[in-house]
Symmetry: C2
């Protein structure tokens, strides 16, 4: 059955991006360190069109996360650098160049209307009427596959708070960022989580939960 899933790297102090996100530092101060365990992997590099990389105990976790995903929902903050305004005349086309690594429909949650953008085999659809609408559109696109909530923190928090997430996997990295985008902000005790598995691997601990409504 189709599931709504999120998985995200998080610091021990609860941040999924550092402070002061910018064009130059999309993940904020220190935020890149959250993903070092991932970007070193062959499975990630292959999916991103790169060669080389390691195979270790993190590899099957990432392969499992990638499997069976039919569409992704992301916030504008993941699609592009901080701005907040209208798209303008020569609008941002994503961080990923002309061959984005997604190969599936992407739904970008934004306040500002924009026509869909197709780059190679990835189409970005811009959704201005909130997470429920984005999920409905994504569900129509995926059939029996899963919908992946790609972040950032704000979008995952909204899905959690609305009870729309089925599974959440945290990749807990033993660093402190001291500030930034906090996962679980605005999400309260009414959201219950049941552990599915815990897995220690190089540089990171993977904690997978079923979200119970």
């Amino acid at each position: 059955m189709s599931k709504v899933r999120a998985d995200i790297s998080i610091s021990l102090d609860g941040y999924v991006a550092g402070a002061n996100q910018s064009m130059e530092e999309p993940l904020g101060a220190g935020g890149e360190r959250l993903h070092e365990w991932l970007t070193a992997l062959k499975v990630w590099r292959e999916a991103s069109g790169m060669e080389g990389g390691e195979v270790n105990d993190n590899s099957p976790v990432v392969r499992e996360a990638y499997a069976n995903v039919g569409a992704e929902i992301m916030g504008r903050g993941k699609f592009g650098p901080p701005s907040g305004g209208a798209w303008g005349e020569d609008p941002w086309r994503g961080w990923w160049g002309d061959e984005p690594p997604f190969h599936k429909p992407i739904f970008v949650i934004t306040h500002h209307e924009r026509a869909p953008l197709t780059l190679s085999d990835t189409t970005f659809t811009f959704v201005t009427d909130g997470i429920h609408s984005a999920l409905e559109q994504a569900r129509r696109a995926v059939g029996a596959k899963d919908v992946f909530i790609g972040g950032g923190a704000k979008v995952i928090n909204e899905f959690l708070a609305a009870g729309l997430l089925d599974e959440l996997e945290l990749h807990l990295v033993p660093i402190l960022l001291g500030g930034g985008a906090r996962l679980f902000e605005g999400v309260g005790p009414e959201v219950r989580l049941e552990p599915i598995r815990v897995l220690e691997a190089p540089g990171v601990t993977h904690l997978k939960y079923r979200v119970v409504r």
Copy 2:
């Protein structure tokens, strides 16, 4: 060699006590839920002078945490209910009655001077000149044993930020509290943590780290 250690139960959203701590709810709203895995255990109940309780995969973790502790340092917020003022004429004598379960010297960090309080075989010494002084006094008391930093969040955060902690164990409970006392608040990226072990057990995941300076 004598170590300075802390271990504390923490929610997935980073709180070690709920919001609105009070005389009636010393651990704040929902805070008791952080300790259900612990208070069910025979090893905890025995140490607290109670009968019964379970033996499960959490038991050796708790036994390891209790072992070789020669003294404890705690904040006034753990010793007594929120108040913040002077001790008064009939001062608070702790939550634990006339037979406290510590059986070792306890150093309570407070802004307000007070003579030591001895209850059975536990002596509470009140330290008004900060964490370095408390640690010095505790070290003199323990010899080769460890000094345990018993919380709350504020005291552990101060020890972390000052680089005075050798080991930190988090008992990660899969609940969200939505507010309360946050571990790691005011502690920055200069504090580095190296995983010692991860252990999944009933109701909780134990994450033990070496703190590197």
